[in-house]
């Protein structure tokens, strides 16, 4: 929980949104076809998590590629899967319920407007 949230606060920014650039953008294009595809895939995976958990964009050091992964509860990405965490989306209900109630999909859709791609690129 501590690991995940410590990353999360930096993954977000009031000046966030848009798309990444540079090496990260290139790898997204290579591994997902387009930023849009990546976006859709990560959103779908994240919304579909049963119960509490996190959706992640992670970096696979072995294959040198980007992966999308879902973790249950507060299972931290790297110790659990080996992927280096780049961008996480918290879908525990406490992350969105007061504002979005049961509509997790809207929260996940809107969060892209505050993603801090500078931070994500730095992690990459």
């Amino acid at each position: 929980g501590h690991l995940n949230h410590s990353i999360f606060w930096h993954n977000l920014s009031p000046y966030g949104g848009g798309e990444p650039s540079g090496a990260l953008a290139e790898l997204i294009k290579r591994d997902f076809g387009s930023f849009e595809n990546f976006n859709t895939y990560m959103a779908t995976t994240t919304v579909a998590i049963q119960g509490s958990g996190w959706g992640w964009l992670g970096y696979n050091k072995t294959t040198k590629s980007l992966n999308i992964a879902a973790c249950g509860n507060q299972d931290p990405l790297e110790p659990t899967t080996g992927l280096v965490p780049l961008l996480g989306i918290d879908v525990w209900e406490h992350a969105y319920y007061i504002q979005y109630k049961n509509v997790r999909a809207d929260y996940v859709k809107n969060i892209w407007n505050i993603v801090n791609w500078k931070d994500v690129s730095q992690r990459f």
Binding site: Q50, G51, Q74, H94, Y97, I98, N102
Partner: protein, 221 residues
């Protein structure tokens, strides 16, 4: 309603093929949304019943439809792929259907009859059982349910925790008697992160008459 139509059609045809497969439907709440205040707010009851439980019902119907089709096609792989959706949505439907009935406006203070005796025998006292159920439910990591259940093989009451929407009986064999939903959606709008306050308060609206009935059925069926 659909089950009745299916029955009539089946009886009226030699081939006995129901044209409409019975679908699950959202059970009505046995009380108004505000009936459980101040323990559980009307807002929570409305969203919990009309959105969360309704979605489990809808998605269960979708999953069962897909399962039927996969079976017709003879695809074992596709049937297996549906097990997660069946457990999650089926469990959600089962759990919430029980939940609405074991809560009531003026909860009787303590269980009576055979259930009271069994609680005393298996836990020492009602308060000890409550303490154990509170601790178990509060301690669940992530989403899940705390349960007082009946172990029919050993003829004893047990406390158990289930993750997510895993249904108690299918998962553990225990007959569900009294369950506490500790998914954040069950309390967050009112209690925010104070899950222990919600769990402790829920005993004020426990419908022990219903729980006694469930116990009786589990013991004697």
């Amino acid at each position: 309603m659909f089950a009745n139509i299916a029955r009539v059609l089946a009886q009226s045809s030699n081939k006995c093929l129901p044209l409409i497969r019975a679908k699950h439907s959202l059970p009505d709440l046995p009380y108004d949304f505000n009936a459980l205040e101040p323990v559980i707010s009307a807002e929570i009851m409305q969203v919990h019943h009309q959105k969360h439980h309704a979605t489990y019902v809808n998605n269960l119907n979708v999953a069962e439809e897909k399962l039927f089709e996969a079976k017709q096609r003879g695809s074992v792989s596709d049937q297996i792929a549906l097990t997660s959706a069946l457990k999650f949505n089926g469990g959600g439907h089962i759990n919430h259907s029980i939940f609405w009935t074991i809560l009531c406006q003026n909860g009787s203070s303590e269980p009576g009859g055979e259930l009271a005796e069994a609680i005393k025998r298996d836990f020492g006292s009602y308060q000890r059982m409550v303490d154990l159920l509170v601790a178990t439910s509060t301690g669940i990591q992530g989403s899940g349910w705390g349960w007082l259940g009946y172990n029919k093989q050993l003829n004893r009451l047990e406390i158990a925790a289930c993750a997510n929407q895993d249904p108690l009986q299918a998962t553990t064999g225990l007959h569900p008697l009294f369950g506490i939903d500790v998914w954040e959606h069950a309390y967050y709008l009112q209690y925010k992160n104070a899950r222990p306050d919600y769990v402790k308060s829920i005993f004020k609206i426990a419908n022990w008459r219903k729980v006694e009935e469930l116990f009786g059925k589990a013991r004697h069926d």
